[in-house]
Symmetry: C2
Subunit: 188 residues, 2 copies
Amino acid sequence: MSYSTDPRAARSREAMLAAARDLLVSEGPGAITHQRVAQQAGVGRATVYRHWPRPEHLLLEVMSGADLPLFKNPETPVRPWLRRQLRQMADELAVPAVAAVSLTLMQSAIWDPEIAHRRDESLKTITERIHAAVRSAVASGEVETDAGPTDLSAVLVGPIVYRTTMQNGVVSDDLIDRLIDGVGIWHR
Amino acid sequence: MSYSTDPRAARSREAMLAAARDLLVSEGPGAITHQRVAQQAGVGRATVYRHWPRPEHLLLEVMSGADLPLFKNPETPVRPWLRRQLRQMADELAVPAVAAVSLTLMQSAIWDPEIAHRRDESLKTITERIHAAVRSAVASGEVETDAGPTDLSAVLVGPIVYRTTMQNGVVSDDLIDRLIDGVGIWHR
């Protein structure tokens, strides 16, 4: 991914990203090909190739373009906040295109070190945010748990990812409460 | 995938499957291409294409060739049996090639109805087996839970899949015990 200081190049880059976002929303991740993005953005195919040699890179950038808002800024008490965050994550992953792109990126990470690196960064951010929130709940006496950071996110996020991307099913509020119960012993 | 009654065709089919299994074990799922399988099996590339028009189909057949032994034949008490089954699943998914093939198949299921169907069948089998085991534990008074079949498998299997294929980490025995605790209230 090349970044240019030339304003015209920056504009065409923005146009291509906007086109990719539109295609993602209207037709799903499969539509994000060099050819379709070039057509939609009104640029040559070679221009898209130059910026993103592989369509996965473009997908990744479209997906990670916005700062991940999930699990940001925990509130007290932690439990209802955690419930809302998990609900939102489940609702986002319930959109077939989002689930598809997530799986595609996870799969591309197998052979693409850059995608693997960005996946690791995203998962690390989520893990740290969840851990910070649960730590503050432990400090205030809201919950007792000895679960470490990666186990916490595996227990809370793992079943939601599994349900939405693999079981192809709906995450009920009951399931979310069950996951939160699995963190430890909640008081109050 | 075509099945022939011609013994020579059946032999070459077996040779291709054996070649694909060898490539999977020695070099990982990326090595399962039409060309490599043809070379290794000593057949023409067109023959591989004829049997499996897409490499994913061949992958799927190699992966699902053996009857899934996981979670089969529950034992009493259920808890130690469940712990062993989850340990085995985690150990299998800890092999990079197995995790990679699993993710590849999950991702291929997005656009391939046949793979989606076989994925659904596999997940259904696991869900039914886990549910049957937990139901027998409930019947014998070993555990109290009101979790339904799909929630049970999401809570038990989801974090293991997430840890091994996405967090790229090791599933500890502690995590497995935590997951089993999340099923409900265990007695004895």
